[in-house]
């Protein structure tokens, strides 16, 4: 038995060694760096490979903040040719670090269409905003808050759940939303009063939504999520439902539009295939598919909306910050937030 075990171990390790030294088949390969939420139907990607005559090699690099930092660290020897997932909050940082190569053939941005800027071609967008548990509010009889200010009042004590801006992308964007909507001083003042009023901080979106949100067994009926989340709730419901169990609240200072785009990586190869990939991400097929695979709104105007997306409303207005301001002040804001809310 022991001999069998050891020979098994030896054979497997030999097999693995051969795996190590096996030459890497480098056919025409387009390396695409994406964030962890990237997801498109397989047939679509296969279709692109056939048309462009390249093999797609998709590399997942963490959430969007982590992704950009990995890109910056490896700029001397880029790990991919094209990147998807740089958003309007980070584009100035990417620009400053000189990791993006402007895509020349992008057509001028149409009026009303969202843009990322700085050579990044917009693919999709969504809004980070407060979601609420309809059943919990109906049960307590509490009216839905109409302003962020109301949330600091005693009747809304211990109801709000946010993600840590230092470890979570929606949490980070929500902090930016408060600064954009209320102004820096008033925003941090609001956070200080929210701390006193029992705001809860979770590590990331999944932890917040699945362990603390009242819809899933927690105690908090208000959570930072996306404008598209109610549509996903309907799409992934157990029984067929006609109304989402959650709703979205667009409060002044509580909405931020996140526009994600695709860009060429400076120093990456395969320029022709990379350009085709950028066009592919803007093609009607991808623009339609991404709505229910990544739960984002399509950036290309005139794209047909998926049926379930009627449960996802867009806000009439929202505030934004310039990417340059974010790049300059972001780290300070996050550490100031940490001191104010967590310490």
């Amino acid at each position: 038995m022991k001999q069998r075990l050891l020979s098994l171990v030896l054979t497997t390790s030999c097999a693995m060694l051969s795996w190590f030294v096996a030459p890497y088949a480098l056919a025409e390969e387009l390396r695409v760096l994406v964030h962890n939420s990237f997801s498109l139907p397989k047939p679509l990607l296969a279709q692109f490979e056939a048309q462009a005559g390249v093999k797609l090699s998709v590399i997942k690099g963490g959430d969007s903040g982590e992704l950009l930092n990995k890109l910056i660290l490896t700029r001397a020897q880029p790990i991919a040719d094209v990147v998807f997932g740089i958003d309007n909050a980070q584009v100035a940082k990417a620009q400053a670090a000189n990791v993006i190569e402007a895509y020349a053939s992008a057509p001028p941005v149409r009026a009303g269409a969202p843009a990322v800027g700085n050579g990044v071609v917009a693919v999709d967008y969504s809004f980070v905003a407060l979601n609420y548990d309809k059943a919990a509010f109906a049960k307590s009889g509490l009216p839905l808050p109409k302003t962020l200010e109301e949330l600091t009042q005693p009747q809304y004590r211990d109801l709000l759940l946010v993600q840590n801006p230092a470890t979570s992308s929606p949490g980070h964007v929500f902090l930016l939303a408060t600064i954009a909507g209320l102004g820096e001083t008033a925003a941090f003042d609001w956070w200080a009063r929210m701390r006193a009023n029992g705001v809860k901080v979770a590590k990331g979106w999944s932890e917040a939504y699945y362990t603390e949100f009242s819809k899933n067994g927690g105690t908090r009926p208000l959570v930072v999520s996306y404008a598209t989340s109610p549509a996903a709730e309907v799409f992934y419901s157990k029984e067929k439902i006609t109304e989402s169990p959650t709703g979205v609240l667009f409060l002044k200072g509580g909405v931020f539009r996140q526009v994600e785009g695709v860009a060429l990586i400076k120093g990456g190869g395969q320029h022709e295939a990379a350009a085709r990939f950028i066009e592919f991400m803007r093609s009607p097929a991808v623009q339609e598919a991404l709505q229910t695979s990544m739960w984002m709104f399509p950036a290309e105007p005139g794209t047909a909306r998926a049926e379930v997306m009627r449960h996802a409303v867009e806000p009439a207005s929202f505030d934004s910050l310039s990417s340059e301001t974010i790049a300059e002040k972001d780290a300070d804001w996050v550490s100031r937030w940490t001191k104010m809310v967590l310490k």
Binding site: M1, V58, E66, K70, A166, S206, Y210, G218, Y236, K238
Partner: protein, 535 residues
């Protein structure tokens, strides 16, 4: 003692040492270098001035020590009962013990909260819940770590010399005194080894405890992660990581020194298992089971129950193509990582017999902050970062200390005269290792392999590395589901967690079952022989 030249004795350690150098030391130094070495020195001093960070470091230390104390207090009696009494299902309990290791952190949190959370079952009975209290954090730490202490304790108690205990009892020692004077000295090194693992896990861990304890109880590793992955402040992150490395490295070195001093060859007469005869003994077994159910099994049962209640539509997830891909990958990666971890662990343990530094370095993969390793690898080998060998090597890196520690303890308590006898009778060193040493350390090897398999099946820090969609494992699939809203996603994740647990249990049974029988047979033969001799 058959003395060989030092370099020859250490030659076997070249493989693990080289592996540690390439996979761990070089990347970390690369990251520190990127951050600027000169900035580093100033940072270390400045860090301690920062009230918040100092509080974090102290808190991290306190919760790790507290967990060790409680894990020992609860784990040792349980281990003693499992090592001394025979009852039906005993071996299964030993295998089941390791399941907490496999469950993805977020799923474990769901299980724990289903019991102790605001709407939990137990909270409902008690009328209060534990969410956001340090108690839940401690509970989460015990859920993961109690099994480490119990398994090590069982193995340690199994090698206590029967005749010495019998002699002590004959000379009038109470069972308690016999335990304290005979059994405790024999098992102390094993427990020290297990507790060091627990300490390092709690110290650097940033999983379950963080979800359960809330962000205020975050450990320093979270701070390092934020600095590296989100703010790219490599100098500060490097300084902080270095501080933690010195602290934990000190613990590891201290442990290695203690272990080397305590190491004593045991005698090959094992204490036979007996059936609980008196009411007190029966109660002891029941009590041990109760501890294990409350701390280890209950959250897992909660997960299984929630998945079972989800209904047939949720279970249809098992038939999806994605699940098949993930299952295949999980098997493939774990098996490769396990093979690599076994070779590394075995060679490391053999070489570590002669060097305190090598002994301490087996802890390195737990001591060094995972995010610094991940980003260091990215800087050092950019062209390899999205390659499978690197991913598998990362799995093996995190898994092999279990094999090394487990075998290390076994080698320390190995009776030396048997190997010497084999050598005197003309066996080559290789042959005496193959026929004498290996059979005797086999149980420890298997225990280490089971833990290594559990770590490779589970997640730990591998999520920090670059990945590819086609490398989807069951754990990443579960996280993908929990990354989207909707009841069907939650149910699917719970069902997949059940599949993962079933797979892990099958792996544990496969790795350890034959050994358990072999030991039992051997023990039985020995007992029979003794009986015949006395008659």
């Amino acid at each position: 003692m058959l003395q060989k030249p030092l370099f020859q004795r250490l030659a076997v350690g070249l493989l693990p040492a080289g592996f540690l150098l390439v996979m761990l030391a070089a990347p970390v130094f690369r990251l520190l270098f990127e951050g600027g070495a000169s900035a580093l020195a100033g940072m270390v001093g400045a860090l301690w001035q920062d009230d918040y960070l100092r509080w974090r470091i102290v808190w991290t230390f306190v919760q790790a020590v507290l967990t060790c104390v409680v894990a020992l207090a609860l784990g040792l009696p349980v281990a003693w009962v499992l090592a001394r009494y025979e009852f039906s299902g005993r071996t299964l309990v030993l295998r089941l013990l390791m399941l907490p290791f496999v469950v993805p952190t977020l799923v474990a949190a769901l299980g724990v909260l289903a019991l102790w959370g605001p709407r939990g079952l137990i909270s409902g009975w008690l009328g209060f819940h534990l969410q956001d209290t340090p108690w839940l954090l401690l509970y989460g730490n015990l859920f993961f770590n109690l099994c480490v202490v119990v398994r090590a304790g069982v193995d340690a108690l199994a090698q206590v010399s029967a005749s010495r205990v019998a002699a002590a009892r004959t000379l009038g020692a109470t069972p308690w005194r016999a335990f304290w004077r005979v059994e405790w000295p024999a098992i102390a090194p094993w427990l020290a080894s297990a507790l060091s693992l627990v300490f390092l896990y709690c110290f650097s861990g940033f999983g379950l405890a963080l979800i359960l304890g809330g962000q205020r109880f975050a450990t320093v590793e979270v701070e390092i992660y934020t600095l590296v992955a989100h703010e790219l402040k490599l100098a500060e992150a490097g300084a902080l990581a270095l501080c933690m490395m010195m602290l934990t490295g000190g613990v590891a070195l201290l442990y290695a020194l203690v272990e080397k001093r305590l190491a004593a060859p045991s005698r090959a007469d094992v204490i036979a298992l007996r059936r609980p005869a008196t009411l007190r003994q029966g109660l002891a077994v029941a009590g041990a089971m109760l501890v294990l159910i409350v701390f280890c099994a209950a959250p897992l049962l909660a997960i299984v129950a929630r998945a079972a209640l989800a209904g047939p539509t949720a279970w249809a997830v098992l038939l999806e193509e994605e699940t098949r891909l993930a299952l295949g990958n999980t098997l493939r990666f774990s098996m490769t990582a396990l093979a690599l971890a076994t070779v590394l662990g075995l060679t490391h343990a053999l070489a570590a017999r002669h060097s305190v530094w090598l002994r301490a370095s087996a802890f390195l993969p737990f001591v060094v902050s995972p995010v610094t390793v991940a980003f260091g690898l990215l800087l050092l080998y950019p062209q390899w970062t999205a390659s499978l060998p690197l991913l598998v090597a990362a799995y093996a890196l995190l898994a092999y200390p279990f094999v090394a520690k487990s075998i290390g303890s076994a080698l320390d308590s190995l009776p030396t005269h048997l190997e010497q006898a084999a050598r005197t009778l003309g066996a080559t060193p290789w042959r005496s290792f193959w026929r004498v040493t290996l059979p005797m350390i086999a149980p420890a090897l298997r225990r280490g392999m089971a833990f290594a398999a559990a770590t490779s099946l589970g997640e730990f820090a591998v999520t920090l590395f670059l990945s590819r969609p086609e490398w989807m494992t069951l754990t990443t699939l579960i996280y993908q589901r929990l990354g989207r809203p909707g009841a069907a996603n939650l149910d699917g994740a719970l069902v997949l967690a059940c599949l993962l647990m079933a797979l892990a249990l099958a792996a544990f049974l496969l790795i350890e079952t034959t050994q358990a029988k072999a030991i039992d047979n051997r023990t039985q033969r020995k007992i029979n022989r003794k009986k015949a001799y006395h008659a």
